[in-house]
């Protein structure tokens, strides 16, 4: 069950140029949410940024009844969101979407994130308490490599790469994943990020015969499965259909998704 909620903004922190973390007090969300889910938030009053914006849940603090969302300013919606004052109300529908499979059967997991796709993975890592966790994060450059302490804390092994080498390895994070796979076998790979990266991870998982879950993005209208705008192709090439990221996802098994749109 998700709900329309008006919750209080507890903190807004600038993590990097154009990246913000917002801490929101919400008994309801902290009780109901599971990793992979998102909130659909009205970033501004009135008709400025008319639609709600989907943002992943990045962390949940059950004791303090707060959750964190972390977002990058891309356009007017995230811009307004970053300007919310502490103590003000934020209007969100949450928690939404199908979560990651966080079964205890996965003893050795790999988590691969790129860009703004890393945020839902922190919550996932924090929830997977019994597994051995290798985390692979790729960023454009060091300016975007936020939340490193939190990821380090949540992982057994943490690999970071940047396009320009300004932080961690220089190059694609999937290269490091492939290298690690030469010596380790994971039970599952979870991934979220830019489509080219996701495709690569899916290929790698397939080649290595590892289960894989992907978290997808698509422009949304309602966020609750009614308007059918957030389509993504699922099935196989002979028998495909359009599923919907907000309701059938955002998390899918990599084997379900067809990446040709």
């Amino acid at each position: 069950m998700s709900k329309v909620l008006k919750e209080k903004v507890e903190r807004v922190e600038k993590l990097a140029e154009s990246i913000y973390k917002m801490t929101i007090k919400s008994e309801y969300i902290t009780q109901k949410a599971v990793p992979g889910q998102f909130v659909n938030v009205k970033c501004s009053e009135g008709i400025n940024a008319l639609l709600r914006r989907p943002i992943s849940i990045c962390n949940v603090d059950v004791k303090n009844e707060t959750l964190d969302i972390v977002f990058q300013i891309k356009g007017i919606g995230t811009e307004y969101l970053s300007q919310k004052r502490i103590g003000s109300q934020v209007d969100l529908i949450a928690p939404l979407g199908k979560p990651f499979d966080t079964s205890d059967n996965y003893k050795n997991i790999a988590v691969v994130g790129g860009g703004i796709g890393v945020f839902p993975l922190l919550y996932l890592l924090n929830k997977m308490n019994t597994a051995k966790k290798s985390t692979f994060l790729g960023f454009r450059n060091s300016n975007y490599a936020v939340l490193q302490d939190e990821f380090k804390e949540a992982s057994d092994k943490l690999f970071i790469s940047t396009d320009d080498g300004s932080e961690g390895y220089k190059g694609l994070i999937t290269d490091i994943l492939e290298k690690e796979l030469e010596s380790i076998k994971y039970d599952i790979i979870y991934t979220c990020g830019p489509t080219p990266m996701i495709k690569k991870v899916v290929d790698i998982a397939k080649k290595n015969n590892i289960k894989c879950q992907v978290s997808l993005e698509q422009r949304m209208g309602c966020g609750i499965g009614a308007c059918l705008v957030c389509a993504c192709k699922t099935g196989n090439n002979e028998n495909w259909k359009y599923s919907h990221v907000c309701k059938d996802g955002p998390v899918f098994w990599s084997s379900e998704v067809i990446f040709d749109d």
């Binding site: 009205k42 008319l50 422009r219 389509a231």
Partner: protein
């Protein structure tokens, strides 16, 4: 006691607010968020004879005070609707309007036939969907097209027949009058206005389909004008929509002549927009001393 009920040629609504087609799924998607029993009616996602997958994504773009969509009629087909959706909807105290779209007039007729034998309360002809290549758009923007389709579907349709008009025409009045004279029980308008939004950095349209239909608050003044024009031109009931988010917006349409209204895009932002709108109409009536919603309808005075 304030009486909010309206009778659209046999389609009896307990209040004049209907969820607009394509924005409310089949109702069940909103059950968690709002009370379906408090909505006058639900016009379901546009149905086609066979299942359709719709257009490629992205299918939505935000524009100032509006959205463009290019869903392209993704739906399970009319038979699956009858089998899987009507039973759920029927459990609720709200009227079921089947919105239909076809590639050919024969498609429309077949659907009208199937639906006439099903447990629904009205049929809305979508002759104006801008998001599919061939088919329905052609019927909606000429007098000849609308006459032809209304006449033929009428002969198969045993339910109240609502013809939904496209705003993408020079003269909405003549199209409405054509639908009336061929037997429409009511007119609903406006469907979306054809538009385009460009991602200036990729130098491509945002929508995969390139163009889409504009809806939301931005279109309200155009919609109110057209509802006014149509309701002055026909004597059948008019159902008004386009940018309605609350009771005050709805009142504009009803003063302009709408017997009922539909709420679309607003459901995305506020899932209880339909119920809130009905509540708002009631509050306005209370404030201004109206007991019967019919006293309100069309009561606009020109300057």
């Amino acid at each position: 006691m304030i009486d909010l009920s309206v009778d659209i040629k046999g389609l009896k609504l307990k209040n004049p607010v209907i969820a607009a087609s394509g924005t409310f799924g089949f109702g069940r998607e909103f059950k968690e968020y709002t009370n379906l029993d408090m909505i006058g009616g639900i016009s379901v996602k546009g149905l086609t004879l066979e299942e359709r997958q719709g257009n490629k994504p992205p299918r939505i773009a935000e524009t100032p005070a509006g959205i463009l969509n290019s869903v392209g009629l993704q739906n399970p087909g009319v038979k699956a609707f009858v089998k899987n959706e009507i039973p759920f909807l029927r459990k609720h105290d709200t009227k079921i309007i089947a919105n239909i779209a076809g590639n050919t007039i024969e498609d429309y007729c077949k659907m009208a036939e199937i639906l006439s034998d099903s447990d629904i309360d009205g049929i809305e002809l979508n002759v104006s969907c801008p998001n599919v290549k061939k088919g329905c758009v052609a019927f909606g923007n000429t007098v000849a097209g609308i006459s032809d389709i209304t006449k033929k579907v009428r002969s198969f349709c045993k339910k109240p027949l609502i013809v939904k008009l496209t705003p993408n025409v020079t003269d909405i009045k003549e199209v409405a009058m054509a639908a009336e004279s061929e037997g429409a029980d009511a007119i609903s308008l406006i469907n979306t206005i054809l538009g385009m939004a460009i991602d200036i950095h990729r130098r491509k349209p945002i929508l995969a389909n390139n163009m889409g239909g504009l809806s939301g608050p931005a279109v309200k003044p155009v919609a109110v004008r057209m509802v006014y024009e149509v309701s002055k031109s026909v004597s059948i009931p008019v159902i008004g929509m386009g940018g309605i988010s609350n009771g005050d917006d709805a009142i504009e349409f009803m003063l302009a002549g709408a017997s009922a209204v539909m709420v679309g895009t607003a459901n995305f932002i506020n899932p209880s927009a339909c119920v809130d709108t009905a509540e708002g109409i009631k509050n306005y009536m209370k404030m201004h001393g109206f007991n019967n919603v019919y006293d309100l309808i069309g009561s606009l005075e020109l300057n």
